[in-house]
């Protein structure tokens, strides 16, 4: 399963198929309700071509139209990269006190006292929700929840301590790599899913699950340091509207 707005890169091997074969990319996840999917259909090969009201059906079709001299850049089964992690955990800034496993920033995806979805709403200072700042034409000045120095490496921890919802979390600006995925209660490692390898900016934060991310706040390709304010938010639009969002700033 991948979350709304989550992306994965896949390599499809068409080489064994006869010319004229049609190949379909199907959605097999049943969803009839805005809250969550209702499981996967038993036989994904026989779904209708036009998705019905449950969303099950073909999303893309490929026609195998001609053959090509074999110049494969890829051998099926081959490991594409072995140089992960691309960021070095040993370079990461010290963790915040009390965070286990160690992380520089802790983000809890949770409900506020009014049932609305927020990030870090119970942090000792009372309920805090995303604050957009003064209304225009005043300069945009949202509350900044974390400051990150350009050039440094940090570990973030995204925590879902409840059992009701998974949150598709989108972090702007940076690509992150998932170091570990653990049970929020016991802290036991659950291992990474196939869709969680590589560099990512959208993470499916499952129920009762914590993920540990690493990134480096690199500069832009030129002199542009890409300083400024960026957001992290739940990509479930209703949760985002309720203020499940934080602002983080890259500083010189």
């Amino acid at each position: 399963m991948i979350a709304p707005a989550e992306r994965v890169e896949v390599i499809v091997d068409f080489s064994g198929l006869a010319i004229g074969t049609k190949v379909f990319l199907n959605n097999c996840m049943v969803q009839t309700d805005g809250r969550k999917p209702a499981g996967v259909v038993a036989n994904c090969a026989t779904v209708p071509q036009v998705p019905g009201s449950d969303g099950v059906g073909s999303l893309l079709s490929f026609n195998v139209a001609f053959s090509w001299p074999d110049a494969s850049s890829f051998t099926p089964g081959q490991t594409l990269r072995t140089d992960f992690p691309v960021y070095n955990p040993a370079e990461a800034l010290p963790p915040v006190p009390g965070s286990k496993p160690g992380a520089t920033h802790d983000w809890r995806f949770e409900r506020g006292r009014g049932g609305e979805w927020l990030v870090n709403c119970f942090n000792g200072a009372g309920a805090q929700a995303f604050d957009p700042g003064p209304k225009p034409p005043a300069p945009e000045n949202p509350r900044v929840d974390a400051k990150c120095k350009v050039g440094t490496t940090e570990i973030w921890r995204l925590i879902n301590g409840s059992g009701g919802w998974a949150h598709p979390v989108h972090i702007h600006r940076n690509q992150f790599q998932i170091l570990d995925r653990v049970d929020s209660g016991s802290g036991r490692s659950l291992g990474l899913l196939p869709t969680q390898l590589g560099l990512k900016d959208v993470f499916r934060l499952e129920q009762n699950t914590t993920i540990l991310l690493i990134t480096k706040y690199t500069s832009g390709p030129t002199s542009d340091k890409q300083l400024g304010k960026y957001v992290m938010h739940c990509h479930n639009v209703e949760h985002e509207d309720m203020a499940m969002m934080i602002v983080w700033e890259v500083t010189p």
């Binding site: 009014g114 049932g115 609305e116 929700a129 309720m242």
Partner: protein, 225 residues
């Protein structure tokens, strides 16, 4: 020339398909998403607004879709008069929102507060509540059948059926029915920020579309090509 004809045909086919899918017994003209995306969105959303019967604080019977939101810009919120935790903070916050709205866009926005405890909240109780918080005109408090109200909350996406801790969520649903523009905000967001976002739906302020309904060209729809 040939290309233009192809596009027109594709659009007609798409509209016909949508009409059949949504229609059933009788034919309703489906707005063309290529030329009026907002009307098309409004059409698609309409089925999510149950036209339930409600009674306002003056004892007047009103239909949710027909009388309260059709053709209007609205702020919808759920409450109950005995609420001691959230409503005593949310209602005064929305009073400030309404004052800002009436200053900037007089008469353009309605506030709709619906009781989640309708068996207890009779019109008299709602009237007393409205008086207590000095709410302005164009703000209705409504009661109805409990099952109807629950269905409405479900369709508006502000009901969590498995959640029993919260009687109602700290959320306002804000929308402009004719253009299908809807969003929600945390009800305790600072009032000027709520008002600013509501005003973006009115004709008098410059929103992302400069206050005009967005045209299909702005959305770069390419379906059917």
């Amino acid at each position: 020339m040939h290309k233009a004809v192809t596009i027109t045909l594709a659009v007609v086919l798409a509209a016909a398909t949508a009409g059949l899918a949504a229609g059933g017994k009788h034919w309703e003209k489906v707005p063309d998403p290529q030329t009026d995306y907002q009307a098309y969105t409004a059409y698609r959303l309409r089925k999510h607004f149950p036209n339930i019967e409600l009674t306002n604080q003056d004892g007047k019977k009103l239909r949710f879709y027909e009388d309260l939101i059709k053709g209007k810009i609205v702020v919808i919120q759920f409450m109950f008069t005995d609420c001691t935790r959230l409503c005593p903070m949310v209602t005064p916050n929305l009073v400030k929102v309404q004052q800002e709205l009436e200053k900037e866009a007089p008469g353009e926005v309605n506030i709709v507060s619906i009781s989640v405890d309708p068996d207890h909240d009779k019109p008299e109780a709602l009237k007393a509540y409205a008086t207590k918080f000095h709410v302005g005109p164009r703000w209705q408090f409504l009661t109805g059948r409990k099952s109807d109200v629950k269905r409405l909350r479900r369709e508006l996406g502000v009901l969590d059926p498995e959640e029993t801790t919260y009687e109602h969520m700290n959320v306002v649903t804000i929308g402009r029915e004719p253009t299908g523009q809807w969003f929600c905000m945390r009800a305790l967001t600072r009032p000027d920020a709520i008002a600013y976002n509501v005003l973006r739906l009115t004709n008098r302020t410059t929103g992302s579309t400069g206050g005009k309904p967005a045209s299909a060209s702005q959305f770069r729809l390419t379906a059917g090509r």
